[in-house]
Structures are given as structure tokens and as C-alpha cells.
């Protein structure tokens, strides 16, 4: 299994080169690290390759060259199915919106990842109790969590359920892709507060992608995407 505690980095990217199928575009990331327990804000506009970078870190895409270590494991060396399992075991993901399966209850949504990860399931006593504890900590009433379909929740409530789903089973790496952009500014602050508290409790690293620089002061470190990565076009350099 992954030796999570020996490596100092939660995420370590070295000399990664990725080519999109067709060879029209490519992305180069020479070096990029997120330390354990560290919170990093990655600033970048859409189209700057951030989706690609996140997909690489999450193991959806495999690099053409280079090494991507997540929680001490070189995921580039894993097969596709193993990368999927690794993601299920070790990474919690929060999107901008549309995080939830609309037809399932919030509770079912939170518990779905356990279906794909034995490791997460093994890290907890009673999944249901822990899911309810999480949602209580995130300020969601239990009736909303167990009684209704996720599609009936407000956007803010859905985002909190998404946090609970990302955090269930205490993954060591949490990745958030513009999780606040669908919220109004008051709710944004409150939501970030909740995310930070959960990530700190779980002693996880947080990599958040956003284009909103106002969020910067809450993070340990702020990096611009163009500082660490460069887009390549066919025929270009």
C-alpha cells in the first residue's frame, strides 16, 4: 500500500508532460508540490490547463512523461483501474457545482465513495454515524440529509454535502475546483471556514483551484498556474 507518512509531500509533480490525443495541445509542469497538511490556492483562468492538471493529479489522465506522486504513491506507474481505486481511497474532490447524484439522498451521496473504496470503509466504525456527524458539523439538518433527494437541496446545501462526501473516511488529499464560485460572497466565507475546519480536523492537504484572488489570505500558499505550468501548441516551442 502507499507509504503515506514517509513522504513529506501530499502531492509532488516532477517534469510532467501531457499531450492531448491528436497532438494539438500539451501541458508541461516541471515541478509542483503540496506539502502534508498544507493548504494551497492555485489561481488560474479557465483554459489555462487547470482542468488537465487536476485530472492528472486525480489519476483520470496519465502523463506522457514525468512523475506524479500523491500521498507517496507514483500514480503514473499505476494502471487505469488502479488509479481509479487510488482516487477512491485517497482523494476527496469538490466541484464548483453539480456535485451530487440528484436522485439519491444526501446521505447516500456521501456514502457512495465507500462503495468504491475498501480503504475508506476500513477507516471508519459506522459510516452512517460518521456521515451524520459530518453533516451536523457542516450545519445540515438531518431531515434534509436522509429524507429528500439531493436535487431538492439549495446550491449552498449541496456544496456542504459535497464537502461531507469528500471528507468521508478521512482522505489525506482534498481537491476543490472553484467550490465557492456558485455561492454569494457571504456564503463563500462561511463555506470556506467549514472546509478549512474539516480539512484541518482530518489533517489533510487542500489544493483549491480558483480565479478569485480575494480568497488568497486564508491559504498557506498561493500559486499562479502560469508559474508552474505552460501550455504548448502543436508547432510551437
Amino acid at each position: 500500500m502507499a507509504s503515506e507518512n514517509t513522504a513529506p509531500c501530499a502531492i509532488a509533480v516532477r517534469d510532467v508532460r501531457f499531450d492531448w490525443p491528436g497532438g494539438q495541445f500539451g501541458l508541461d509542469v516541471p515541478t509542483f508540490d503540496v506539502l502534508q497538511n498544507e493548504s494551497v490556492l492555485l489561481l488560474g483562468q479557465s483554459g489555462s490547463g487547470k482542468s488537465t492538471l487536476l485530472s492528472l493529479i486525480c489519476g483520470i489522465l496519465a502523463p506522457s512523461q514525468g512523475v506524479i506522486q500523491v500521498a507517496g504513491t507514483d500514480i503514473g506507474a499505476l494502471g487505469r483501474a488502479s488509479r481509479d481505486r487510488f482516487r477512491a481511497d485517497h482523494i476527496g474532490i469538490i466541484f464548483q457545482m453539480f456535485n451530487l447524484l440528484p436522485y439519491a439522498t444526501a446521505l447516500d451521496n456521501i456514502l457512495v465513495p465507500l462503495r468504491f473504496s475498501k480503504a475508506r470503509r476500513a477507516r471508519m466504525q459506522s459510516p452512517r454515524q460518521e456521515a451524520l456527524a459530518l453533516t451536523k458539523a457542516l450545519g445540515l439538518p438531518e431531515t434534509l440529509v436522509t429524507g429528500v433527494q439531493a436535487s431538492t437541496l439549495s446550491v449552498g446545501q449541496q456544496q456542504r454535502v459535497a464537502v461531507a462526501r469528500a471528507m468521508i473516511g478521512n482522505p489525506k488529499v482534498v481537491i476543490a475546483d472553484e467550490p465557492t464560485s456558485a455561492l454569494d460572497s457571504d456564503a463563500q466565507g462561511e463555506f470556506l471556514e467549514l472546509v478549512f475546519r474539516q480539512v484541518q480536523d482530518a489533517e489533510a492537504a487542500l489544493l483549491m483551484v480558483s480565479h478569485d484572488e480575494r480568497l488568497a489570505d486564508r491559504f498557506d500558499r498561493v500559486i499562479r498556474l502560469d508559474q508552474i505550468a505552460s501550455l504548448r501548441r502543436a508547432g510551437g516551442a
Binding site: D89, P102, F116
Partner: protein, 417 residues
């Protein structure tokens, strides 16, 4: 939260389209199984038209033709059997019993058959069921007639009513001078007996006393009293039902009759002739089963189209599953489970529809058409059909499944709209 529960929740959220798809599958399965049941019912009813008779004998023609006129009362005999030949055959040592039949007259649209009382004992159908009387009794008098259930029902006859027998078929020259009385009405059998008027062999002779070559002799008709005093031994009959002393003797008896030197005769085994006839009629059966199989295929293709159409709307769903660690194969699995669930529920519902339909239709089919469709459990063949439906559902959903695989591989965890 298992994949199946996930699939169920997803199906439930699209209950209207899913419900319609399941309904279409159920209806097609019910139709297919219904046709299958009707088909076997029709075949059994058909081959059960006559049983317990070892050989049917008539003038030499084709076996199907002999069967048609002697059992189904369709068409006419090309020739008669002389009474002497009949006596000869009936007295052979291999013959256990013989029932002569004389056909050729009609009453309204129904055939009249002259026979002996033994007919009521020897004629069996649907295994070993004998003719039963719904009212009245067998012929007691020369001018008594027994009518089948359809004859009584369609012409509104009851026991004791007089009827007039016409000479020949579809003829206007009625034997009005010799009226018959209905002595009994037979219970419904689902065989051509229902559409037959049965009189004694001597009665057939009696109504032809004053007739020659299809026309009434000129002059005053012979009075009923005179006819009663005449010798009414028939000179010819149309066909004979034979029972052999032992099953082993049937074939030698058949050969002996077929090689009968005095007259060209034909003896057929009813079962063999019935199968021969069914092989002609059965082409319609194959067409019917083919059409209903196509309906099942259409319903399944509809399901595949529905799944395919839903894929675009479900890209986010697939992306979410990928983000939380599901592989593309899991997405494919989810889709296949959905298809299998729909097909299985559709098939089960179809079986329900089938039996509901059978319960409603069985008495109607039996009473109207004499077609007895037993309400039995599913045969091995039918159960295999249901399994085939579910397997075919999996096969046709491969198309949407492969597409889902491609989409979820391309989209990853971010939907590119």
C-alpha cells in the same frame, strides 16, 4: 450503497420513461408468450380432435383429404365404400370395433352424419374424453337426430324440436317429407362434432328412399309408415373408424386394407394424418411466432434507444461517479444493471399480463372457438424465452454502454459541454 441500489434510484428518478419502457417490454413478452400458449393450445386442440381410433378408412384418395372429410367434415369423399367391403373389414380378426360413417347430407350450414350408436362410445377426443349429452339422449327412433353444441346454439334448437335434413350440401331440395326430431344435444367438445347433426345409418337410407340421382322421384312420396317397414340396410358408406385388437396389429391391418382387392381403399393412422395436416396449417403458426418475436426485439431496441438518449443528460452523473473513484467499467456496469432490471421487471410483468389475459380469455376461447388453452405453469421453452429476453436486453444495451464508456473516458470527472 450498492450499484444495484444506485441503478434503482436512478431508474426511479426517471420513472415515466422507465415505466413506459418496462410496459412496452412487458406487453411484448405477454404477446409472445400468449402466442406461444395459443399455438400449443391450438396444436393440442387440433391433434386432440380424435383419439382412441386406430385407423380411419375411406375410398382411396389422399390421407389429408380423408381426414378432412371424415373428421373435420370439410370437403367430400371422392367415392364410397360398399357395405360388403365394410362387413368384410369389420369382421377381420384384427379388428376390435368398427364404426361406419355416412356423410353427404346437410342441415342448414351443418353436415349430417349417419352412423351407428357405437359412435357415441368409440369417438374420443382430448385424450380419452367421450361425448356427453347436454340434454336428451341418443337416437331411439329411426327419425331421431342428435345435434352438436354449435348446431343447437346457432339454430336455437332444444330437445324435441323437429328438423329437416337437406339432400346433398348447400341444397335447396330438402327432405321435407321425412322430418326428424331432436332426441339429444351434445355438450361442447371443441371438435367438429359440435357442428354435426348425427342420425342413424338407416335414417340416411330412409330419407333417400324416394330419391334417385339427387332428385325426388315423381309421384306421391312414400309414407313414413311404409319407410319404417322397409329394409333400410345401407348399400354404401363414406368412412369407417376402426379399433384394432392390439396396437401391434395396426400396421398389418392398415396394409391389408390398403391392398384390399375388391375395392381401392385407404386406411390412415389419425395421429400421422393430423400431423401431416398440421404441417400445412402450421406455417401460419411460424409466421405468428416470428411476428411476436419481432415485437419483443422492437421493445428491446426501444429500451436501448431510451438508454442512449438519456446518456447526454447523464454525463454529469457519470462524471461524479468517475470523480469519486468509479472506473469507466463501473459506469458501463451501472447501465447494464439498469437494462437488466428493466428487462427483468418487464419480463416478470409480462408473465403477469399473460396469466391475467389467459384467465380472462380462456372461457371465451373455449366457448367461442373450441380452443382450449390450459392455464399451466411456464414450460421450459417459455422460461428459456424469458431468460433470452433478459440476455437480449443486455446485448442491445451494449451499444449505449459502449457509448457511456467512451463518454466517461473522454469526460473524466469534468463534463465538457
Amino acid at each position: 450503497m450498492t450499484l444495484t441500489r444506485l441503478a434503482l434510484a436512478s431508474l426511479k428518478s426517471r420513472w415515466l420513461t422507465v415505466g413506459l419502457t418496462i410496459f412496452a417490454v412487458a406487453m411484448s413478452v405477454a404477446l409472445y408468450l400468449g402466442v406461444e400458449k395459443l399455438r400449443t393450445g391450438a396444436r393440442d386442440s387440433f391433434t386432440d380432435t380424435i383419439s382412441g381410433t386406430d385407423l380411419i378408412v375411406g375410398a382411396r384418395s389422399g390421407s389429408v383429404q380423408l381426414l378432412l372429410y371424415s373428421v373435420f367434415r370439410i370437403g367430400n369423399a371422392t367415392n364410397n365404400i360398399t357395405w360388403d367391403s365394410y362387413r368384410d373389414i369389420a369382421n377381420r380378426p384384427e379388428v376390435s370395433w368398427a364404426v361406419p360413417m355416412s356423410l353427404g347430407d346437410s342441415h342448414r350450414q351443418f353436415r349430417v352424419m349417419g352412423t351407428t350408436e357405437a359412435y357415441f362410445d368409440r369417438y374420443k377426443y382430448r385424450g380419452d374424453r367421450s361425448l356427453e349429452f347436454a340434454g336428451g339422449d341418443r337416437m331411439n327412433d329411426l327419425f331421431d337426430a342428435v345435434v352438436g353444441a354449435d348446431v343447437a346454439a346457432q339454430l336455437g334448437y332444444s330437445v324435441g324440436d323437429p328438423i329437416v335434413v337437406a339432400h346433398g350440401l348447400a341444397s335447396f331440395s330438402e327432405h321435407a317429407d321425412t322430418p326428424f326430431r331432436i332426441s339429444g344435444i351434445l355438450a361442447k367438445t371443441g371438435t367438429p362434432v359440435d357442428r354435426t347433426v348425427i342420425v342413424s345409418l338407416t335414417a340416411i337410407e330412409a330419407i333417400h328412399v324416394d330419391w334417385k340421382s339427387g332428385a325426388q322421384k315423381p309421384g306421391a312420396p312414400t309414407s313414413v309408415d311404409v319407410i319404417r317397414s322397409m329394409n333400410l340396410q345401407p348399400k354404401a358408406i363414406t368412412a369407417i373408424m376402426l379399433g384394432a385388437e392390439s396396437r401391434l396389429k395396426i400396421f398389418s391391418l392398415q396394409r391389408a386394407i390398403n391392398e384390399y382387392p375388391q375395392e381401392p381403399l385407404l386406411a390412415v393412422l389419425p395421429g400421422v394424418a393430423l400431423q401431416e395436416l398440421w404441417s400445412i396449417v402450421g406455417i401460419a403458426e411460424v409466421a405468428l411466432i416470428g411476428v411476436s418475436a419481432m415485437v419483443v426485439v422492437t421493445a428491446l431496441l426501444g429500451m436501448a434507444a431510451m438508454l442512449l438518449a438519456s446518456l447526454n443528460a447523464r454525463r454529469r452523473e457519470m462524471a461524479i461517479l468517475r470523480a469519486i473513484g468509479a472506473g469507466p467499467m463501473t459506469v458501463v456496469g451501472l447501465l447494464l444493471i439498469e437494462a437488466l432490471l428493466m428487462a427483468a421487471v418487464g419480463a416478470a410483468l409480462g408473465v403477469g399480463f399473460l396469466y391475467l389475459g389467459l384467465i380472462v380469455a380462456q372461457p371465451i376461447l373455449d366457448a367461442r372457438f373450441g380452443l382450449f388453452v390450459p392455464i399451466s405453469g411456464l414450460s421450459g421453452r417459455e422460461a428459456a424465452t424469458l431468460i433470452a429476453v433478459v440476455c437480449a436486453a443486455a446485448a442491445v444495451s451494449l451499444l449505449p454502454a459502449i457509448r457511456a464508456y467512451r463518454i466517461s473516458l473522454a469526460d473524466g470527472m469534468m463534463v465538457k459541454m
